[in-house]
């Protein structure tokens, strides 16, 4: 087949997506502070659509020139 299929353990993003907030949780035995985990998770992921996206969009479809004209 043409598709490349990899194990989840070959990508940190894939692993973070799974093991941090899913699976069986034993409340009393979770030994890690969630704050640390969230920071790390954000680092591995990308930000969502915002002003940055719009500026890229404006440039791509030529709106910036129109506005300047």
């Amino acid at each position: 087949m043409a598709v490349e299929k990899s194990m989840a353990s070959s990508s940190l993003v894939e692993v973070i997506d799974r093991i941090l907030d899913k699976g069986i949780v034993v409340d009393a035995w979770v030994r890690v502070s969630l704050v640390g985990i969230e920071l790390l998770a954000i680092e591995a992921r990308v930000t969502v659509a915002g002003i940055d996206t719009f500026l890229k969009y404006a440039e791509a479809v030529g709106l910036t020139e129109q506005a300047a004209a």
Partner: protein
């Protein structure tokens, strides 16, 4: 010296004791073994670890996942969340005893099931932007579709929000097309949040092992059909993390 605890990776059905090798989390090469309970044979897959310490790092997270993937070769697994450390083997046996019927039921439910992950991302955002722009012009006319830059930061924010909605709408539309053939052959499907402008699909599927190759074929079809403009990231077989979500309180 730090007190030792038992790091738990997953729960399996096994009546015999097992040693999966010196692949335990941390840098000591602790052996990964089982702590069993009961006649029906539930066991927790564990390794020794200092009880107070659980470092969140790339190495520890990958080690956790690798152990569960290794165990999956031989067993149906109920994966446990990262950094779960029991004070003692006795505590684990107590847990298995207290939750015995529930774990047994889950074992039957997940018997021979695997998780497959699929992410789909637009390759060329400029092209997607152009398509959105064209449909806006068709809908409201070129003149009105010029954003109100003159209104300054507020105007840009309004336009950015409008684009965000347009992008989301387009994602949902394409998502449906991509997911349909995969949902048909899955027991369950879990849609995760998408990250970034270009990600259209971030999904996990619960699939019977015997259907894995059929699923591969369907992903292959998607690639032949949409591969030019969409990049696919296909992952598996993975432990069924996305479908085992139970919280055990005190």
């Amino acid at each position: 010296m730090l007190e030792e605890g038992q790091y738990i990776y997953c729960i399996i059905e096994a009546s015999e004791a097992r040693n999966f090798g010196s692949i335990g989390i941390g840098d000591r090469g602790d052996p990964v073994t089982t702590i069993g309970f009961g006649y029906g044979g539930l066991a927790a897959v564990v390794s020794s670890t200092p009880i107070s310490k659980c470092t969140v790092s790339k190495e520890t997270m990958l080690a956790h996942e690798e152990v569960v993937e290794r165990v999956m070769w031989d067993y149906t697994v109920l994966p446990v969340r990262f950094c779960t450390v029991a004070p003692s083997a006795e505590d684990i046996r107590n847990l298995l005893r207290r939750r015995y019927p529930e774990f047994k039921k889950l074992m039957r439910e997940f018997d021979n099931k695997i998780e497959l992950g699929l992410k789909a991302l637009w390759k060329d955002m400029d092209a997607v932007f152009s398509e959105i722009r064209e449909s806006e012009i068709t809908a409201i006319g070129a003149k009105e579709a010029i954003p109100s830059f003159e209104r300054g930061a507020l105007g840009v924010q309004v336009e950015a929000d409008r684009l965000k909605h347009a992008l989301q709408e387009r994602k949902v539309m394409e998502q449906e097309i991509l997911l349909r053939p995969l949902r048909q052959i899955s027991m369950n499907c879990c849609l995760n949040n998408t990250y970034g402008d270009d990600m259209i699909v971030n999904a996990a599927f619960l699939v019977d092992r015997t259907w894995e190759m059929v699923f591969d074929g369907r992903v292959d079809n998607l690639i032949s059909e949409y591969g030019e403009r969409i990049e696919f990231k296909y992952v598996g077989p993975a432990p069924p993390y996305s479908f085992v979500n139970i919280v055990i309180g005190d």
